[in-house]
Subunit: 343 residues, 2 copies
Amino acid sequence: MWDRFLRACRREPVDRTPVWFMRQAGRYMAEYRALREHHGILDIIKTPELAVAVTLQPIQAFELDAAIIFADILTLLEGMGLELEFVRGEGPIIHNPLDSARDIDALVDPPVEESLGYTLEAIRLTRAALDGRTPLIGFSGAPFTLACYAIEGGSSRNYIQAKSLMHTDPAAWHRLMARLAERVGRYLAAQVAAGAQAVQMFDSWVGALGPAEYREFVLPHSRRALALAAATGVPVIHFGTGTAGFLPDFAAAGGDVVGVDWRVDLGDAWTRIGTDRAIQGNLDPVVLFGPWRAVRHAADAVLARAEGRPGHVFNLGHGILPGTPVDHVRRLAEHVHAATARR
Amino acid sequence: MWDRFLRACRREPVDRTPVWFMRQAGRYMAEYRALREHHGILDIIKTPELAVAVTLQPIQAFELDAAIIFADILTLLEGMGLELEFVRGEGPIIHNPLDSARDIDALVDPPVEESLGYTLEAIRLTRAALDGRTPLIGFSGAPFTLACYAIEGGSSRNYIQAKSLMHTDPAAWHRLMARLAERVGRYLAAQVAAGAQAVQMFDSWVGALGPAEYREFVLPHSRRALALAAATGVPVIHFGTGTAGFLPDFAAAGGDVVGVDWRVDLGDAWTRIGTDRAIQGNLDPVVLFGPWRAVRHAADAVLARAEGRPGHVFNLGHGILPGTPVDHVRRLAEHVHAATARR
């Protein structure tokens, strides 16, 4: 069943629980590391043929039910006037982070087809290369996570700059978030137009917030971005980590599928999200570093919490980590299928 | 009312909501930075007169209802044979982290009065110096957080080494945790014997876990440590961050007072913990970097969620951050008292 991932997103019956992994194309794979010896991350993302090749690596290697286009949540910011670089060992850096309301108002907003055409082209090529083998997922960062990067200039421990703007100049914060939401929504829609059969919005840093802050400063903008994506008609996945304290609010922002991390019980999370939604998750990526019996045990525990109800997409609670044993990734995908084959 | 903190811990009526702050003695204060120019952190901790002076700095400066002895959650590990150093700009480092079950079994366990006598002496001196002005809190790291430091050798992003031991050799993991639990419990009890009028166990990293892992690998050991502390008869505070996904389990481990971070609504957390327990928290420390009106607004929201029920200790959701405006700390403590004066 080539479309079991899409069917699960729509809570339709499936022959097996679908499985894919966030960051399934990445440093844990030798094929990816070999390519990275000659190319930077942004080179790969911006050269559609290379992005296609990397996107397909895990599809060729493992029993996965979806491909996700190789790209980055931050490329959206580049088109707006922010200078993005991936520094080896340090991760992404924004060289000219937003420092004032004036910086925010000076951001530009060219058509996504112009500034992100390389990823749209990679989606077109990957769709052709996949030839119906699996659906293809497009994605973007969520407005909050993008705003944090744009303001902090890189990853952050406490998000002091971002939260200070939020509280010091809420009007400027909302202007920034509104612009990001429109751009995220248009980018996700453009990915669908290019061939993506589902899209995921990553709010990777949203766990820095409390419930009241999320509702006031983030939810309306996530809702707008997700609504623009949903208008395309394809399934939309709304993913965040550290959302256990405000899952109903997070779910209220939208998404046919809500993605949760491993810090919450999948069954409890589903109840709180509402069983009229699909759920994605939620194995701890670090469990894959343990022995296979521990991986299987933890995967079975996740599957047991989802049993008896359509609409579970098996995934990790966050991306696959560098150094993850490849054999465990392979066996995990196979095990999810074997354990859930229609009994 | 000098003991409103202790009374709130026991859910007795108070004239005002008591307030203290985790890391209330620290780098945000000029008095502390001045002392640090001439002394390392461990020097201060191990020189009782200096530890007393630092402990008293915030009590002299602000309207606080409790002092907390100046010490560190990791000093307990030093006595067991682990080499601890605070490296400027990097935080605490363990030079010989645990790498195997053999390392775990080679740990030693001298009497806490011997290896941690400097903190016990600092507690005796501080009690005398406070002279009943406020109660004094003792503390320790929790077994899980200590185990992570001992295995990872420092702070960690994903706790791959610690979780791998947990899953690869659960017997060795449980032996380590059992030893840490006994030592934590005895250390907390020794602090009470030296004069501490309440104790707090910090499980600062417990938010790395999911509910099932917490229950299996951590809860029994936290319960043991907390029971040893509770046997002294003083109020015990059980603090963790990132616990929103398993608050009932976290509370089940023990503590008269459960400390929660800002990622959860205080009222919801209290309901899930059970209203037969006191609660501590939970203002986001980063809010203090914003304008005063935002600090007051967020503090009022916390107070509103606790209103009408005895047993709230106002605190931040985690420690005060370096760079926090001192004036906001002062005004926040005053505001909590003014806003909750028996109306």
